[in-house]
Amino acid sequence: MDRLIEGNRGKPFRVVVEEGKVREFARAVKSSNPAYMDGPQATSPPTFLASSTFWQRPENSPWGETRLNWHRILHGEQEFVFHGPPPAAGTELTAEARIHRVYEKEGKRGGTMTFVETVTEFRDSSGEMVAEARSTIIETGQAPQ
C-alpha cells in the first residue's frame, strides 16, 4: 500500500437521510425501536452513515487509483461521532472523505500489517459539522486466519 495516499481527499458528495432507507437499515440491524420507524421525524441509527460510502461515485472516494487486495483487507475499527442527535430522516448532508493516517505494524501471523484510517465529515446546509465517521481498515501480509 502506498503511504503517499495519506491526506488524499475525495470530492464532496450529497447524502440524503431517506426515511425509507432509515427504516430498511433499522430493520436490518434487528431494531423495532419506534424512534427509527417514526415516519418523517425518524432518527437515523448510529451506524447508518456507514452506508453512504457504498453509494458514492469514484471521484468521491479518497482512494484515487489505489487498488486494494480485498482478500487481505479486514475492517479493524469504526467510530461515529455526533455533534447533536444523529441526523433525522429528510436531512440533506454534504460528506467529504479523506485518508487521515496510514501506518504499519508487525503482525503476529500475517506479516506486516498496514492500517489506513479514513475520516468522513458530514455537514448540514449551513456548513455545520453534524457527524464524523472514522474507519480503520487493515491490509494483512497474507489471508487472515
Binding site: A28, K30, T47, W55, G76, Q78, A143
Partner: protein, 136 residues
C-alpha cells in the same frame, strides 16, 4: 434516569438468535455493501475461508440497536467498535455493556459505556464504546 445510572450499571444483556446468511444479505442490501465474501461460499473458499463469514458492520449495528434501546436513539453522541474474532453463520451472540463513566461537559450529563459482543464459545467478536447524553 441519571440517578439510576452508576459506574458499573449493566444494560439488559441480549442473546440474539443464531446468525444466518440471510441476516448478512439483508444487511448488505440495506447498506449497499455487496462484498460476496459474506454470502458466496465459492468466493469465500477461494479467499481461504471455510465459508462466508459475518458482516462486521451488521453486529456493530445490532450493538447500536441494543445500546439505543437502553439509553435512547436521539441521545447517542459517540459509538465505536473494534473487531476481534470473526463471527460465523450459526453463532449465538450476546450483546452487553456497562456504564464505565459518568461526567458533565458543557452543561450536558454524559455516560460512557463499554460494550462487548461475545460468541457462544466465549470468544469476543467485538468490543464497543459509546457516549450518550442523559436528558433531564
Amino acid at each position: 434516569m441519571w440517578d439510576d445510572l452508576s459506574v458499573g450499571t449493566e444494560g439488559p444483556a441480549l442473546s440474539d438468535k443464531p446468525l444466518t446468511v440471510t441476516d448478512f444479505v439483508r444487511y448488505q442490501g440495506a447498506s449497499g455493501d455487496m462484498n460476496p465474501i459474506h454470502h458466496d461460499t465459492a468466493f469465500a473458499q477461494k479467499a481461504g475461508f471455510p465459508q462466508p463469514f459475518a458482516v462486521g458492520m451488521l453486529q456493530a449495528g445490532v450493538l447500536a440497536t441494543w445500546a439505543t434501546d437502553w439509553l435512547g436513539a436521539a441521545n447517542v453522541r459517540r459509538f465505536k467498535v473494534q473487531w476481534r474474532e470473526q463471527a460465523w453463520p450459526g453463532d449465538v451472540l450476546t450483546y452487553s455493556g456497562v456504564v464505565a463513566a459518568k461526567r458533565e461537559e458543557d452543561g450536558q450529563r454524559l455516560v460512557d459505556l463499554e460494550m462487548t459482543v461475545t460468541r457462544q464459545t466465549g470468544g469476543t467478536h467485538l468490543r464497543g464504546w459509546a457516549t450518550f447524553v442523559v436528558p433531564d
